[in-house]
Structure formats: C-alpha cells, structure tokens
C-alpha cells in the first residue's frame, strides 16, 4: 500500500527493539494493537469511519445548529423545492426535510447501536455458556439457535412491532432480541477452540468458577469476533428499522425515522418531488455502507473468519 504513514515504526513487533532476540514474546495487547494499526492503514475503513462520524454529528449536533421546523405543519409551505430557508425543501405538510433527516437519523442510529449491543450481549453470553459447558446442554442450546434462525427475521420483528408499537426502546429490544443468534454461534465456535487452551486449563486449576472463566478468560479472547459482528449488526438493525418504517410500522409523528420519510415520499415520486426520496435514501445507504466498510476492515485486520446470515 502506498499510503503507509512514514512515521510509523515497522509492523513486526517480535523483532522490535524491546522484544528479546528470536523470542516470540510481545506486549500483551500486541495482537489488538497490530490489528488497529492495520485498520488505520485501510483507506476504505477510514472512509467508513468518517461517514459514520459525519452522521453522528449531523444527527445529534446538527439540530443544535440548524433549526428547521419538523413539528409544526405549515400548509403555506408544502412541497417547496430546495431553496432559501429550506436547503432540502419541505414535505407534503410543510415540514423541513433537512431537519427531519437529522431527527430521523437520531432514531436510526440509536436503534442501530442499541439493538446491536443487546444482540451481542445476549449472544456472547449464550454462546460462551454453550461452548464452555458443551455436551448435551450445548447441542440443546444450539438447536434453539437453529430454531430461531429458521424463522425469517423480518416476519417476527414485524409481528411483534405491530402488536406492541414502535418506539426507539421497543424497536431496539425487538431487533436486538432477534439478532443475538449469529453472534451466539460465532462466540460458541470461538469458545470451543479456546477452552482446550492452556491458559483456560491454568485458570481452571487455579479454581476459577465457570462465571469467572467466561467473563475473564473466554469473552476477552473472543473479543475480535464480537467486535466484528457488532458493526454488521448495526448495519442490519438500521436496515431493519428503515424497512419497518417504510412498511408503516415504525415511529410515528412527531417522532420520525428514515423509512417513514421514504414511505411518505413515495406518493410524490410521480410528481417529481425528488427531495422527498433521494436524500433520505442516500442517508440510509451511506450509513449502512459505512458500517459494512468498517466491519469488513475489522474482519480483515483482526483476521476473523465468519459468515453473515
């Protein structure tokens, strides 16, 4: 790669000045630091991080600077094309599109991260327990994962969301409650290979309980799998929220999400009111792409092999 910063020390830490000659011993966090350095050299990953950072600023800091009216409808100002006062125009009830984009993005980002966190949390613990205990318990727990994975995600999320109503919290719980399956499988796989390693035997010999083994030894070592999966889960959750919103089962006025905006804009497609569709569509695509870029780069640099759904 041509864009390696010249100030960086050589990557081979085993041969670095502090490592003993010919030794295999590096600093404890060497693997992770190495991976982060490799990540920082991946141009696409940095673009992804940049896009994500932009959207976080745009959605959470933007409304402090830009005060487009997204609450009070104004029938004098409906369907205004982009222009002075409304950089991205107004919608069919006179709400400012740019302001709506910012507020809608808040919901998408909040649900995306919160749901991913819930999913990873449940999945990690479930997978670690299954992998550590092994045997019949393990196969039973994994059949449960198989059962859940066979039921199409969108169907269940739709059924539950329609019945219990959509809010940032409920959507996060519903989506997170259904996206722990893939992480559970991956973490279990990691734990199965980790539990035969010497440091786990040593911890066992030292009298560690199962809980301590999981939280102090197994999960930290399965962290790379977990981190990579979080980013993909964020992307999936944002897409799921947008889909729910588009189908009309997302957040409702005065709350708003991107999918909801798009489904509102579809009625004006034929009228040529492009500003109701393409800006919000581009936002969804860009933020999902950013998460996927970051995830791909993390996967490469942490050297994780995993399969997405």
């Amino acid at each position: 790669m041509t864009h390696v910063a010249p100030s960086l020390p050589p990557l081979d830490i085993n041969r670095g000045p502090t490592a003993p000659e010919g030794g295999e011993i590096g600093p404890v966090q060497s693997g992770f630091k190495l991976a982060m350095r490799e990540f920082a050299q991946n141009r696409l990953a940095l673009i992804g991080l940049g896009i994500l950072a932009f959207f976080v600023l745009f959605c959470f800091v933007g409304p402090l600077i830009y005060h487009g009216d997204t609450i009070n409808t104004s029938l004098e100002n409906t369907l205004l094309p982009p222009g002075a006062g409304h950089p991205l125009g107004t919608d069919n009830v006179g709400l400012d599109v740019l302001g709506q984009l910012m507020r809608g993005g808040q919901a998408s980002i909040e649900v995306g991260f919160f749901a991913a966190f819930i999913g990873i949390f449940i999945g990690t613990i479930f997978g670690a327990i299954a992998g550590l205990i092994g045997g019949l318990v393990d196969s039973g727990m994994m059949r449960i994962v198989d059962v859940f994975l066979s039921v199409p995600f969108l169907f269940v999320v739709l059924i539950v969301a329609v019945r219990y109503g959509a809010s940032v919290l409920s959507l996060s719980l519903i989506i997170g409650g259904y996206t722990w399956l893939v992480p559970a499988r991956l973490v279990r796989g990691e734990v199965l290979t980790l539990r035969t390693r010497d440091f786990v035997s040593a911890a066992r010999a030292a009298g560690s309980s199962r809980g301590r083994l999981i939280t102090r030894h197994l999960i930290p070592n399965a962290m790379s799998v977990i981190i990579v999966n979080v980013t993909f889960n964020v992307a999936d959750a944002i897409l799921a929220v947008a889909t729910l919103g588009f189908l009309g089962f997302g957040l409702h006025y005065p709350n708003i999400d991107w999918g909801d905006m798009l489904s509102n804009g579809i009625q004006y497609l034929q009228a040529g009111n492009w500003w109701l569709i393409y800006p919000v569509g581009a936002c969804i695509v860009l933020i999902v792409m950013a998460c996927n870029l970051i995830g791909d780069a993390l996967r490469d640099s942490l050297d994780v092999r995993l399969r997405r759904r």
């Binding site: 066979s150 579809i266 996927n292």
Partner: protein, 315 residues
C-alpha cells in the same frame, strides 16, 4: 453416509417441531383469541368466554397447539377472520404468484452472479473487478424498497419502458407472460440477491483458482476456456449451493417488500395486509410456512452438496 443422512434429517425434523412450537407460542401470546375480531368490540365478557369455549380458545396452550398441528397436517391452516376466508384458500390463490416472483429472481441472480464472480476472480483488482465490487457493495447496503423506487423512477417514469405496478392478473400463466409489468419486481429482487451472491462467488472462485488441480489442468495444456468450464466453475459453485439454502429467509423478506411496493397479489402482500388487520391465522400460517421452507431449503442444499461433492460423501 447413511448415518449422516439420518442424523441430518432427524435434526431438521426436531428443528421443524421447535419452530412450530415457538411460532405458535409467540402468536398465542400476542393474539390469545380472535373472539373480539369476530364478535366486535362491544361484545361482553360472557359472550367472549362462550365463544372461546365453543371454539376451543379456552383450552390449555398445549391442547390448542396440538389441535392446530393436527389440523395443519390435514391441510387446514385455520380461518382468517378478518378476510373471512379459509387461510388455505387464500394461500392457494396466491402462492403460485409468489413462487414465480421468487423463483425467477433467484434463477436470474444465480445466472448473473456465477459468471460475474468468476469474471471478477479472473480479472482480480482490474478496473472491471473494482467497478463490479463497488456496485455490489452499494446495492448490498441498499434497502430493497429504495432500490425498487430507483428502478421505478428510471424505468417506469423517466423512461417509461416498464410498468410501475406488477401484473394484477389472477391467472399465473398470464402473469408469467406479462413482461411489461413483471420485469421491475423481478429485477428488484434479483439485484439485491446478486449483490449478496457475487461477493461469495468472487471469493470462492479466487480460492479455487489457487488450487493445485487448476495448476495441473493448465500444466497438462488445457486451454484457458477448458480450465474454466471444466475445472473452475464446478468447484467454485459448490459454496453457492449452501448459500442459496441460507438465502431463503432473505428472499422471503425481500419478496414481502417487493410485493408491497409493486402491489403484487402474492403471499407477501397478504402477510402485509394481515399485519394491518391483525389477522392472526394468516400471520401464523405464513410464518410457519416461511420457516419450514428455510429448514427444508437448508436440508436440500446440504443433501445436494453431498451429491455434488464426493469429498463430503466419503468423509
């Protein structure tokens, strides 16, 4: 081999039972009884209790579950109280249309993604590969409905080549003939699928290209065309078999959205309408069918792989 088959089929049956239990339980919690839907919101408690008793909705959960499963195995999917029809009848009217949309999209996706992935692997890191990779990456991040909107904008409004609504014909053969209306829905669903497939196909073909038997084939003087058609394609396609099995839930979700956007009277649109009406039995039956299709699809994919790949058969 035989023991593998038995174990694999046995697992699938256990998972099917687990699925039916889970879905029935989930919907049972959400919609305990359709009494209100049938009797109206002004029905009093005594009336509701009487109706529940008469129709078995006051039985213990496990009895209701076993009763439903018994009916299901006899081909009776229950009654859709909001649509006022048998669920089986509703499904019989629509399944062929959904099957056509989904199957054509899947077929198109495989026919495009396989050559595309191989092309990318051969021309790795050239301009062509990068362009395809970028396009696939963007499409992969695109919600199905947004892709559908873009296609409608371009091919139905800006350049009115195709219809923006799917065929409304009730005869599935007429639907098949109606290219003017069916191109955009099929294109939408297959583009999303291609975006997912081509990534795997590219890396699978790249893995295969490094194998010794490819070197051997070249070394014995085969033309590049023969190497590709006889040795590369077959081996590179093996992971696709598993992938197609795994794609079924995504395809079902995609067809739900596509049918909604294009107003195509298939099972996905029926499910969407049932969501709006809270028609319990339709939701239950279609979720069950979707999940069973997923399990069966994965099973068939695994079995097909043992047929296609002797290494698995002998292992």
């Amino acid at each position: 081999m035989i023991s593998y088959l038995i174990r694999r089929i046995g697992t699938s049956i256990i998972i099917l039972i687990g699925i039916s239990f889970f879905i029935f339980f989930l919907l049972h919690i959400i919609y305990p009884s359709p009494a209100i839907d049938v009797l109206g919101s002004r029905a009093n408690t005594a009336l509701i209790d009487a109706w529940n008793k008469e129709h078995g909705f006051d039985d213990p959960f496990i009895v209701q579950y076993l009763h439903y499963m018994n009916q299901l195995l006899h081909g009776n999917l229950g009654y859709a109280y909001k649509f006022n029809q048998n669920v089986t009848t509703l499904f019989q009217e629509r399944w062929a249309r959904s099957a056509y949309l989904t199957f054509m999209s899947l077929l198109l996706a495989v026919l495009v993604a396989v050559p595309l992935g191989i092309f990318q692997a051969i021309r790795r890191n050239t301009v062509g590969d990068n362009v395809v990779t970028s396009l696939a990456f963007v499409t992969y991040a695109m919600p199905v409905f947004f892709l559908a909107l873009i296609l409608i904008q371009v091919f139905a409004l800006s350049f009115p080549i195709f219809n923006f609504e799917a065929s409304q014909d009730t005869n599935v053969f007429a639907v098949m003939g109606d290219w003017h209306s069916m191109t955009l829905p099929i294109l939408t669903l297959s583009l999303v699928t291609i975006a997912g497939f081509s990534r795997y196909m590219r890396s699978s073909a790249m893995d295969t290209l490094t194998q010794d038997y490819i070197k051997a084939a070249r070394a014995k003087g085969l033309t590049e065309r023969m190497v590709l058609s006889r040795h590369l394609i077959r081996n590179a396609c093996l992971p696709m078999v598993t992938l197609i099995g795994l794609t079924i839930p995504a395809l079902l979700a995609g067809s739900l959205i596509t049918e909604t956007v294009f107003n195509y009277q298939g099972l996905g649109l029926l499910f969407y309408n049932a969501l709006n009406n809270a028609d319990y039995n339709v939701l239950l039956a279609y979720t069950l069918i979707g999940a069973s299709l997923t399990v069966i699809g994965n099973l068939v994919a695994d079995l097909a792989l043992t047929v296609a790949d002797p290494r698995i058969r002998l292992a």
